[in-house]
Amino acid sequence: MPAIRPYLRLVTAPGAAPPHNGNRIAFMPERTTDTSAANDLATNDLAKCLSAVAAHQDRRAFRTLFDHFAPRVRAYGMRLGCTPQQAEELAQETMVKVWRKAGLFDPAKAAPSTWIFRIARNQRIDAFRRESHPEFDPNDPGLVPDEEIPADQLIEQRQSGEALRLMLETLPEEQKLLLHMSFYQDMSHSHIADKLNLPLGTVKSRLRLAMGKLKTRLTEPHAISTEEFDT
């Protein structure tokens, strides 16, 4: 895929990636369901594509984003019960918003996958549930501002795209299932409890456990050994 090479080169240049993230590709977990080469695109590559779209409406960069995200947003829609036609619309509308809002993307604040997940989520709620997803406005004078974030935490947030993906793989199946149901089935926790025939309290506590585990590992980047993922 020659089209993506310029962006790949940007991040594989020596010293471009943080040291403990250098062997990123080597410890990618196996994903038998996914054969797409585009999946190997790292957070940094995608972030640079977004910046290129914002800076000079770079179509090649946008194509890279399109190839990576459109099929995933389509899959997201299908999981949530969209027809193939609706899932296609969801993917198209989401990518239109990605193009238009690329200038609002801030790589210091979110991974591209998180940013695009938000767009796809809100688009789905707007189009298929005919509601809005109320959100705070970071520029609102009524907002209580964040405290200053230390620089090392900023780096951590950037990495968290890949780190989280890896950590999700390590969760117990029962917790992974509940996260998937929360994000992909548009179900309240009490619906999930009914469906799995579990007490609501169990559903809630397993989700809390899962979130807690992801968080502890995120805030202690060294608690997780990279060797764990070497294949």
């Binding site: 995933r72 509601e131 406005d137 970071p138």
Partner: protein, 217 residues
């Protein structure tokens, strides 16, 4: 500001996954505007959403013609640019609540509920839960009531206390069918709250029950 009563982990997760209906979403988003620590937690939950999206097996292919069609449709569209942050005079009601009610606190048209309490129903597209602002006079109680469903109350101005503690600006009180409570506004200042509920409240006193059908809470 020192917020003591936050959003529960599972409500925050449901919000981030996009599973809350609009009225509950308004409650969460308003708290997030006032609470940097919950904003950070919501960001973490959304990152999980992003990671799950990234890990999905791609559905369908993105061929040249689909891309060409997309490019054609966005060709004439402007690209939004980040607006410089303008910190005007701070408002009492943060976004998105301010837009929902059509202005800041002093522009509101309250409706009398009786017993000195005022409210302002908030229009959403939520078919199940309803949202409203409530104004309780300083030092006065909201009549003793229990719930058939869930209720969340977020303090915006003043404070109230229940047997569960003291609730100030930014704090959220959550009550369900098991809770019968009588929040009392602290003396000195009227207490203004955002309240969301998915069912009518049940007032204990006969007088309150008689007027309830007419005042619509």
């Amino acid at each position: 500001m020192n917020i003591q009563h936050h959003i529960s982990e599972d409500t925050l997760l449901a919000y981030s996954a996009g599973n809350l209906s609009e009225a509950w979403g308004l409650m969460v988003a308003t708290h997030l505007a006032l609470c940097p620590s919950c904003r950070a937690r919501a960001h973490e939950a959304e990152s999980i959403g992003g990671a799950l999206l990234d890990a999905l097996a791609p559905a369908g292919t993105s061929d040249d013609s689909a891309f060409a069609a997309l490019m054609q449709s966005i060709d004439d569209m402007p690209i939004e640019v980040a607006q410089p942050t303008v910190r005007a005079a701070p408002s009492v009601l943060p976004e998105p609540l301010r837009s929902y009610v059509g202005g800041d606190l002093y522009a509101l048209r309250w409706k009398r509920l009786g017993m000195g309490v005022y409210h302002l129903p908030i229009k959403t597209r939520d078919g199940k839960a309803s949202a409203r602002l409530l104004k309780v006079p300083a030092g006065r109680p909201v009549p003793l009531h229990s719930h058939t469903g869930e209720e969340m109350t977020l303090v915006l101005v003043g404070s109230f206390h229940t047997y569960q503690g003291n609730f100030q600006r930014g704090d959220i009180e959550t009550a369900d069918a098991s809770v019968e409570h009588m929040p009392i506004a602290a003396p000195g200042e009227d207490c203004i709250c955002l309240a969301v509920t998915d069912s009518p409240l049940r007032f204990r006193s006969l007088a309150a029950r008689i007027v309830q059908p007419f005042i619509g809470i």
